[in-house]
């Protein structure tokens, strides 16, 4: 019975010219987005590898130079795109794609792709995620808004019930039919996506990511399908069902996500870049507590060294005190950076929580984090990347400062104190992407919200159809 209903639904859907056109456009957009995304990702990854190798070459090509000047010249670390960035570019357009590592400070990541974008479309770039998150729900609404109200208006609802079709079977059949229509669009896309993944040298893990992502989107679509069927069952007419559903789409896709951003900015404000830099500089100079000023810290280090070596002037120390002072600066700087960047990330996390709270009102804000996390383009990866880069910065600078402590001359700062042998001692940076488990853990609540949405929406549909009347 359910199968028969589903089959009729599919036939009905397929006969509708508008739906067919919309479906065709949607598949076209989806495939285009995937193709462009794949090409973009391949180009970006190749460019990143070249750039990273070039940075190493430049670093090693430095001739005689004061090690501290070399530390200020610093390094650049370039961020990979993320495994499935071609499906969902996530935070990438607005996240710094490079981290500049220099002496003394951790700088915020820079070179956001959006800074160089010529066009900033209101809804962002055309990606598969955009199509899946915004357009597919519209198609669902278009296919199913008249699901029950139409039967009622045509008088076929009474007929169906009179020949013994149960309401429950009707809901399930219609839901099944709707799912089949959707799968007809999504399965080819998923297959093409997986094939592209394998061809472009991605591994089984990425296929698993893609599979989990598909589950996430399926739950998202089920949520929309359930809501659509429920509204269709309860609305007095198909027209009103359409108005309500489009209103819901508008709210959930257009308005609430941006209101969530504003709420997040309001509830968990993030410092602007100049004020943030000032806080870092003030902390380093005056001490985090305000009672631990830079010169006092240095004096105590000096006193300890005098005691250790039994001298009373820095000139008499067997080591270069300038190197010690630099190391001390880095040691204290690390405390400041850990604290202030920790606060910054905490604010980002609070903002994510505010957005998650809004996910109770719109399923879009539940599927977004899941999709980004599985694509490897969310904040978790951004944070992991910047933190690995920062650890590498501290390691490299420490190595350079230690060398200067041993080999440099006090108060000289001359350019012959460092050279290619020292540059070669600095290890290479190798970014290790977080494991899938680590990447997914933070987004489990969002997954749970998606399950909740889809379950609640299906429940709503069942409830609505039980209570719907046969008459118009």
């Amino acid at each position: 019975m359910i199968i028969t209903i589903a089959r009729r639904e599919i036939l009905d859907t397929w006969r509708g010219g508008q739906v067919r056109l919309a479906g065709a456009i949607l598949i076209g957009l989806l495939l285009l987005a995937l193709a462009v995304g794949l090409q973009h990702q391949a180009r970006a990854d190749a460019a990143r590898k070249t750039a990273q190798a070039e940075d190493t070459r430049i670093w090693l090509s430095q001739g005689k130079l004061n090690p501290h000047s070399a530390a200020h010249f610093g390094r650049y670390i370039f961020k990979p795109q993320g495994a499935l960035a071609f499906v969902d570019e996530g935070v990438n357009p607005y996240a710094g794609s490079a981290v500049y590592l220099e002496a003394h400070v951790q700088t915020p990541s820079r070179a956001r792709p959006a800074d160089d974008a010529a066009l900033l479309p209101v809804f962002g770039e055309l990606t598969a995620a955009l199509v899946l998150q915004l357009l597919v729900p519209l198609l669902i609404i278009l296919v199913a808004f008249a699901g029950f109200s139409g039967e009622r208006e045509n008088g076929t609802f009474r007929q169906l019930l009179s020949v013994g079709v149960t309401r429950r079977a009707l809901v399930l059949g219609k839901a099944l039919g709707l799912s089949a229509s959707l799968l007809a669009i999504l399965v080819p896309v998923a297959v093409i996506g997986s094939a592209a993944l394998l061809v472009s040298g991605h591994g089984a893990i990425d296929l698993l990511r893609l599979a989990l992502m598909s589950v996430g989107y399926l739950l998202y679509f089920i949520a929309f399908a359930g809501i659509t069927l429920a509204v269709s069952a309860r609305a007095p007419s198909s027209r009103q069902a359409l108005v309500v559903l489009l209103g819901f789409w508008l709210l959930s896709s257009l308005l609430l996500p941006r209101l969530a951003v504003d709420a997040a900015n309001h509830l968990a404000p993030v410092p602007t870049v100049a004020s943030f830099r000032k806080v870092l500089a003030d902390d380093v100079r005056n001490g985090i507590s305000g009672h631990d000023a830079e010169d006092a810290r240095l004096s105590s280090v000096k006193a300890a060294l005098f005691k250790q070596y039994g001298v009373s002037r820095i000139e008499d120390l067997p080591i270069n005190f300038d190197g010690i002072a630099l190391s001390e600066g880095e040691r204290y700087g690390a405390l400041v950076m850990d604290r202030r960047y920790g606060e910054l990330w905490q604010q980002y996390q609070r903002q994510a929580l505010v957005q998650r709270a809004f996910a109770l009102l719109t399923p879009l804000l539940a599927v977004k984090p899941v999709s980004m996390a599985l694509a490897g383009t969310d904040l978790t990866v951004q944070r992991d990347f910047t933190e690995q880069a920062e650890r590498y910065r501290r390691q490299s600078i420490q190595l350079i400062n230690d060398d200067y402590t041993v080999n440099g001359k006090l108060d000289q700062w001359t350019d012959d104190a460092g050279g290619p042998e020292l540059w070669a001692k600095v290890p290479r940076f190798q970014y290790v992407e977080p494991s899938m488990q680590a990447a997914l853990m933070p987004t489990l609540p969002d997954f749970a919200l998606l399950v909740l949405w889809s379950g609640a929406a299906l429940g709503l549909a069942l409830w609505a159809i039980r209570r719907t009347s046969v008459e118009i």
């Binding site: 957009l29 090509s61 500049y100 357009l135 209101l259 870049v273 100049a274 001359t414």
Partner: protein
């Protein structure tokens, strides 16, 4: 009925029809609710934009104040030094005696001056460099590197703020379509259009009158709220230019609204049902606001791929290393050319970083690497602006893009304002260097008084007249086309089936 009263009749009938139309509109509770929501959203968008703008302006002011403070600190130390008390400065962290005398040390933080309507466009403004970081030796291609590092949350930026540009570009059309999609179809469905058709008034005038009265009912409140909101959050325009901007903004909003209303009229004269009209207009909205701009974006990226900033960064750095590796030669070449006054290490023969010779070397290295990278960096920037120009041309294909472009321009958040800022900062850098470089090349130190005479940065007023007209044309041509199509469709329009 005399001839004269017959001539009188049409306007009278028309005014009755219009009054009826207005009464119907005002009696429609949903219209009032929608307008109230729109008003609340407008005020909210402006309040949130104002908060964002305060943050950016505070950032610019903070950077300027810090730079000023640093100069003042230099001056204080230099006065101590000039009074022969230099030895007391030696232990102060970060303030080495040689560094405070160095012409390389003073910095400037030229900032972008906001335009009166900047609060409208926090999304576009967010990706605009608003601050430069400059010392004499800073490469002209690296002036905005600090501005390109951001502390803002990329996850929220990727969603976008609820700014006025978004509200007016994406949401205002929906309001207009919602209350005009049944311009004719509702009366067709109710059968009242036939009654109107028998009145002694030309149907064209009736339709036009209906369209204009819908426009008035929707737009007058919407525009009033926008004006009130701007007066509230941006303040009363303080100059003739600010009033002109406000006027231009209202003109753009009216033109954009007219486009959507004409679209609605065109769809209506096909004589389909209200729900069919609604579906079609929704499809048009989706295509024009969401799909086409994103597709055009793809087209821009395909035709003019963005140049690789990572590659530019590497090229810049590679030339620095090259120039630095040849730094000694640069100094000896310089001294050969200036044999009358060669620059040497400092008095005790040392050659450390704050000696005149080291300072000269730093400057010569900076100059040489800047010259070496200029062809590549200029080519990079040419590619960026070529991409920009292509995008500007493509905006004519979507009224939504033209409108967005006009609003960003009026807010001073568009690329041409950014380019103007970059050019102004570079001009300023030339003046800044013009002040310090002669001292470097003479091996001279800064005096406390020298620091009083550092040139100041002035941000020029925006130049955008013709670009705004082009934006407006991007809105106007589809409207004219739609008006023609609607008029043609109307001639075939039949009130009865």
């Amino acid at each position: 009925m005399s001839a004269s009263t017959h001539r009188m009749a049409p306007p009278k009938t028309l005014s009755i029809l219009l009054r009826h139309e207005r009464r119907m509109a005002l009696a429609d509770r949903s219209l009032l609710i929608a307008l109230a929501i729109f008003a609340a959203a407008t005020l909210y968008a402006l309040a949130s934009g104002a908060a964002w703008l305060r943050g950016r302006e505070a950032d610019v002011a903070l950077a300027a104040a810090q730079s000023k403070q640093r100069t003042a600190d230099f001056q204080t130390d230099l006065r101590i030094y000039e009074a022969g008390q230099g030895a007391t400065l030696g232990e102060k962290p970060g303030w080495y005696p040689g560094w405070i005398k160095s012409p390389l040390a003073p910095d400037a933080r030229p900032g972008l001056a906001s335009l009166p309507l900047a609060l409208m466009a926090s999304n576009a403004g967010e990706v605009q460099p608003a601050l430069a970081t400059m010392r004499v030796a800073t490469s002209r291609y690296a002036l905005f590197d600090d501005a390109r590092a951001s502390t803002q949350n990329p996850a929220t930026l990727a969603v976008g703020r609820f700014d006025l540009v978004f509200l007016l570009t994406a949401v205002l059309p929906l309001l207009l379509l919602a209350f005009s999609h049944n311009l004719l179809s509702s009366e067709l469905e109710q059968g009242t259009l036939a009654l109107v058709a028998v009145q002694p008034v030309a149907m064209t005038r009736v339709v036009l009158a209906k369209l204009l009265s819908r426009a008035a009912v929707l737009l007058l409140p919407a525009l009033s709220v926008i004006v009130v909101g701007l007066l509230l959050f941006a303040g009363v325009p303080a100059s003739a230019a600010a009033w002109r901007d406000l006027g231009a903004l209202l003109l753009m909003i009216v033109s954009y609204s007219l486009f959507w209303l004409l679209l609605s009229a065109w769809v209506n004269v096909r004589g389909r049902s209200s729900s069919s009209n609604a579906l079609r207009l929704g499809g048009w909205w989706l295509a024009l606001v969401l799909v086409i701009p994103s597709l055009l974006n793809l087209l821009v990226l395909g035709l003019q791929p963005p140049p690789d900033r990572a590659e530019l960064t590497n090229r810049l750095r590679a030339t620095v290393v090259n120039a630095r590796n040849g730094g000694k030669n640069l100094v000896s070449d310089f001294n050969l050319q200036h044999a009358e006054q060669p620059i040497r290490g400092d008095a005790n023969g040392r050659d450390n970083f704050d000696s005149p010779k080291a300072i000269l070397k730093s400057w010569l290295v900076a100059q040489a690497s800047e010259a070496a990278v200029a062809p590549i960096a200029d080519a990079f920037e040419r590619r960026l602006s070529a991409q920009q120009r292509l995008a500007e041309r493509l905006r004519f294909l979507s009224p939504a893009l033209s409108f967005q472009s006009a609003l960003n321009r009026l807010a001073g958040a568009d690329r041409s304002r950014t380019e103007q800022f970059i050019a102004a900062v570079r001009d300023y850098q030339a003046a800044f260097r013009g002040y310090f470089v002669p001292k470097i090349e003479a091996g001279a130190s800064m005096t406390a008084d020298d620091l009083d005479r550092i040139p100041a940065f002035v941000m020029p007023a925006p130049r955008r007249g013709s670009a705004l007209i082009a934006d407006w044309l991007g809105l106007a041509w589809p409207s004219v086309l739609l008006a023609l199509l609607a008029a043609r469709g109307f001639r075939r329009f039949r009130v009865g089936k």
